[in-house]
């Protein structure tokens, strides 16, 4: 491993060694063994590799690993506190938005990034965010339902 960097992953500072051609997803999955972030395509189309970097949802399959140096990255493994799920996870798991679940980590992180930063996100903002994710199972309606429930839950906790 030729390169070395320090960044925060799910609240914990990590020092990792990585190959220069690696993308952030490779560091997460193959170096840190955080396999919750998925590989669905090779050109940032499907969205299942989405993680949150410094508060913003990004696609980890086209983010060079080096770009993560010094940042704070949250992956799908970083949301639940023990058995207590994050509102986005709870809503998505109960709205029928999960079938095969392969797109789910990306959708959870997209909504987490959006709603934590802006709990009052408009319908257009939600739609634009979710349009970056491909789901082959659900026909999207239950994902929209889950997103709206999540937004409501997050708003209530902020009151």
């Amino acid at each position: 491993m030729a390169e070395r960097m320090i960044f925060t992953v799910n609240g914990k500072e990590r020092t990792v060694e990585y190959e220069p051609e690696m993308m952030l997803i490779d560091v997460l999955r193959d170096v840190l063994n955080l396999t919750g972030t998925k590989h669905g395509c090779d050109n940032s189309t499907c969205g299942t590799c989405t993680v949150v970097m410094d508060g913003k949802a990004i696609k980890s399959c086209n983010t060079p690993a080096a770009k993560a140096a010094g940042t704070s990255v949250v992956t799908v493994e970083g949301l639940a506190k023990g058995t207590e799920l994050h509102p986005v996870q709870k809503a998505i798991s109960e709205s029928g938005a999960v079938q095969c679940g392969f797109c789910t980590p990306g959708i959870v992180m997209e909504l987490y990034g959006l709603l934590e930063a802006n709990p009052d996100a408009s319908e257009t903002e939600m739609t634009n965010a979710l349009n970056k994710h491909l789901c082959r199972c659900t026909g999207y309606e239950p994902i929209r339902d889950g997103a709206l429930i999540a937004q409501k839950m997050i708003k209530e906790t902020r009151k």
């Binding site: 090779d42 709870k90 998505i92 980590p105």
Partner: protein
């Protein structure tokens, strides 16, 4: 009928592991000392391999072994043994495995793979069945006559026709002499892809003790086990296949796909597991494609609208290997009548070798490919007869007493199609149609559809049930969870059958052929029906066992005992009873002596009287059908020709809804997929047989913004086979979208289209044609 647990919404047990990122999919499996493989694909879709030079690749960093197909002596396949794990003398399609590199990391394997040099002699390329059937076409499988095949299959020697299936009912084509009106058209349902978000992947480990262990993205682990055992000459019991969590299947993970190739590669490094995960590009070029069907259909009717004869000829672009395509052709052929009775049928399906990836299963296969024709033909015939298209359909429904193409008599319990159609009619035509405006022109249409089961003589599903000391129950089955939500179904059916709350039932979470009860394949929308039947049979055995033990405890005959979920009790005096948990390990008396058996049961269920087709191509295929009706409100953007689906409607007679939350999700998703097929999805080849769009940004599957509103309802006419009256519904929702959309386009602009996808360019051209004819 009202049930306590069946018919109520339950949350799926795997949702939590999936939202927390803890579900373990194939690519998440890591094994000790694991190696990685990369597979070289050819530059030509049809070529002789002259020379493979691996010397440069062998010198690359991290490389353990470079593998070719040289010396591979066996072929495999369940229907036709026409497959080889790696190309030996020639390549037949652009994704054929030519060679592979095994290395310490996937990146090293890929880098070394680029260094393999192959010399080819190109051969003529055919990407369409019609061209491959031409008289002077070069042979794709010169040795076809020597392949093993099922006794029901028949190749045409000296051609590229791998199989011809023919069905004759009544007087066949002669029956057209009874018709007053005859129409004939040709339709095309092109090659597509299941495009699950999780690509295919496989890990194979040839162990030092000569056993083989496999992990794969598959819903047929038992077939893989038998196949590998046969190829490598070990007992079936020495092959262990795991199915981890699956990121979608939709059909193309339901047959042996990449497993034999990865096994061949791994066999060169015994002792070490070898992992391969396909790129998205390989998922398109080197696994299974779907559809690829041209349907020529001739239909004859009496003046009053009674359908009398149908002739269908299917030209199936089956791909370079026909092992999996033959089933798609056969099902499309005998299902091409749709949900209508024809006195005379002459149905022919040609499975043709082409230089394209092999066609395999796709959600609903054997139905949408030819029923696009049937349902368009019904509208065209109605127009010719001057009838309302729905009235024509209603007049000919496969209702009670009618006989379908394969010769099965239909009963009331096969479902109330009339009710489904009537509801959809009201939803669509019960409101005024928007008038054409500056921007859009509007159209609407409806269709009725039928899906048959897909069986095989050994299509059994097993169930193992054990009761624990606290009365809770574990259930183990071999059904693969691909996202459809079968664990909830199992839980609810078992709860109903055992009369205990679903919270006390835990369903298996993975499939491992070492522990899992036998299951053929989790396909054909059959798990609820057949798996449910197996659960009920196991529950009945378990209850009988509990009663047997209780009879000894209560000193009475079994005949006088009732089972109530919490107690087994005397029918005439319920106060004389024993608690069910006390019977779970046998009953332990006060003096420590145990009587009775451990409370566990094994059972299975298959399709009733499934048989091979007879000399007329007929024969029972399993009795249980699901019928329904679908329709669409759409608009066409005049400037661009873009078709926008505003609202899609589906009503199916499913016998009994088991989980209302999940069944809606299943139909929502199926409709979305099929709208994709109708509007945007097509695998495109250039003249050399290369796929020009093997990426998700080029092969456009529907996105969030493209999802229409959907109205979904269910009719419940109980089925006598399925658990508590339930029928299959997993695939049915994909059948009606394409013909509905094409019929609605006619409604909008008066132009008949005969193929999908209806891209904006094609619709724009149709709009221009409309202007000219005006």
């Amino acid at each position: 009928m009202k049930y306590k647990y069946v018919g109520h919404p339950y949350n799926r047990p795997d949702a939590i592991s999936k939202v927390t990122g803890k579900a373990v999919y194939l690519d998440d499996v890591r094994l000790p000392d694991m190696l990685h493989a990369a597979v070289l694909r050819p530059q030509y879709a049809h070529a002789l391999i002259l020379k493979v030079d691996t010397s440069e690749a062998e010198k690359c960093p991290g490389v353990v072994k470079v593998v070719t197909g040289k010396d591979c002596k066996f072929r495999y396949g369940d229907n036709i043994k026409d497959l080889q794990p790696m190309a030996v003398t020639k390549v037949r399609y652009i994704g054929d495995p030519v060679a592979a590199v095994i290395a310490d990391t996937a990146a090293h394997a890929r880098a070394a793979m680029e260094k393999i040099k192959v010399d080819y002699k190109p051969l003529p390329v055919y990407t369409d069945a019609r061209d491959a059937m031409a008289k002077d076409a070069a042979l794709i499988h010169e040795d076809m006559d020597n392949y093993w095949r099922l006794p029901t299959l028949k190749q045409t020697s000296g051609t590229n026709i791998a199989n011809t299936y023919h069905l004759k009912k009544g007087r066949g084509e002669e029956g057209f002499d009874e018709a007053d009106v005859i129409i004939e058209h040709e339709f095309n349902y092109p090659l597509g892809s299941c495009s699950a978000i999780e690509p295919h992947g496989t890990i194979v480990w040839f162990k030092e003790d000569r056993t083989i262990e496999v992990w794969s993205t598959t819903i047929c682990p038992f077939i893989i086990r038998e196949d590998l055992a046969h190829s490598y000459e070990v007992p079936v019991s020495d092959v262990r296949v795991h199915t981890p969590d699956l990121g979608g299947c939709f059909g193309y993970k339901s047959d042996v796909t990449t497993e034999q190739t990865i096994a061949w590669i791994a066999s060169f490094v015994p002792g070490r597991p070898v992992k391969w995960v396909g790129t998205r590009e390989e998922d398109y070029t080197s696994t299974l494609l779907a559809h690829g069907m041209r349907t020529r259909m001739k239909m004859g009717a009496k003046k009053d609208g009674t359908l009398v004869a149908i002739k269908t000829t299917l030209y199936h672009t089956g791909g370079a290997y026909a092992d999996t395509a033959v089933n798609v052709t056969i099902a499309s052929t005998h299902n091409s009548t749709g949900p209508y009775e024809f006195k005379h049928c002459d149905l022919t399906g040609y499975t043709v070798y082409t230089n394209t990836p092999a066609v395999g299963a796709y959600r609903g296969y054997g139905h949408q490919e030819s029923q696009i024709a049937t349902e368009r033909m019904m509208d065209l015939m109605a127009r010719k007869l001057g009838m309302n298209p729905l009235d024509l359909r209603k007049k000919n429904f496969l209702s009670e007493g009618k006989v379908n193409a394969v010769g099965e008599t239909m009963w009331k319990h096969n479902g109330n199609l009339l009710e489904c159609a009537t509801r959809v009619e009201k939803m669509i035509f019960g409101k005024p149609k928007p008038a054409e405006d500056d921007q859009y022109v509007y159209g609407r249409a409806m269709v009725t559809v039928m899906k048959s089961p897909k069986g095989a003589p050994f299509s059994t599903k097993g169930c193992y049930m054990k009761m624990n000391v606290d009365g809770s129950v574990n259930i183990n089955m071999g059904g693969a969870e691909v996202g459809q939500g079968l664990r909830t179904v199992i839980k609810q059916v078992a709860a109903e059958a055992l009369k205990i709350p679903p919270e006390q039932i835990r369903i298996y979470t993975e499939i491992d052929t070492q522990y899992s009860p036998y299951e053929w394949q989790t396909i054909g929308s059959m798990f609820t029906t057949q798996g449910g039947r197996a659960i009920i049979r196991a529950a009945e055995k378990l209850i009988a066992q509990l009663k047997n033990t209780a009879a000894q405890v209560l000193k009475t005959d079994v005949d006088y005992l009732e089972y109530g979920g919490d107690f087994v009790y005397l029918r005439n005096d319920p106060t004389i009873r024993v608690a069910v948990p006390d019977l779970a390990r046998g009953y332990i008396t006060n003096d420590g002596i145990t009587i009775g058996e451990l409370a566990q049961a094994v059972s299975d269920a298959r399709l009733p009287r499934y048989s091979n087709p007879d000399q007329n191509g007929q024969g029972p295929i399993g009795v249980t059908y699901t019928m329904g009706s679908q329709g669409v409100d759409l608009k066409i953007e005049k400037k661009t020709g873009k078709v926008i689906v505003d609202h899609f409607y589906s009503v199916f007679d499913v016998g009994q809804v088991i989980n209302p939350l999940q069944i809606r999700g299943s139909v929502l998703g199926g409709v979305m997929m099929s709208i994709g097929a109708a509007l945007t999805e097509e695998i495109v080849f250039d003249k050399e047989g290369r796929i020009t769009n093997p990426h998700l940004f080029k092969y456009h599957i529907p996105t969030y913004k493209e999802a229409p509103e959907q109205t979904i309802e269910f009719v419940e006419t109980p089925d006598p086979i399925g658990p508590f009256g339930a029928r299959g519904i997993g695939e049915h929702s994909v059948i009606g979208a394409a013909p509905s959309i094409l019929n609605a386009i006619y409604d909008a602009i008066g132009v008949d289209l005969f193929e999908i996808p209806v891209t904006p360019e094609k619709v724009k051209a149709a709009l221009e044609a409309r202007k000219e004819s005006k």
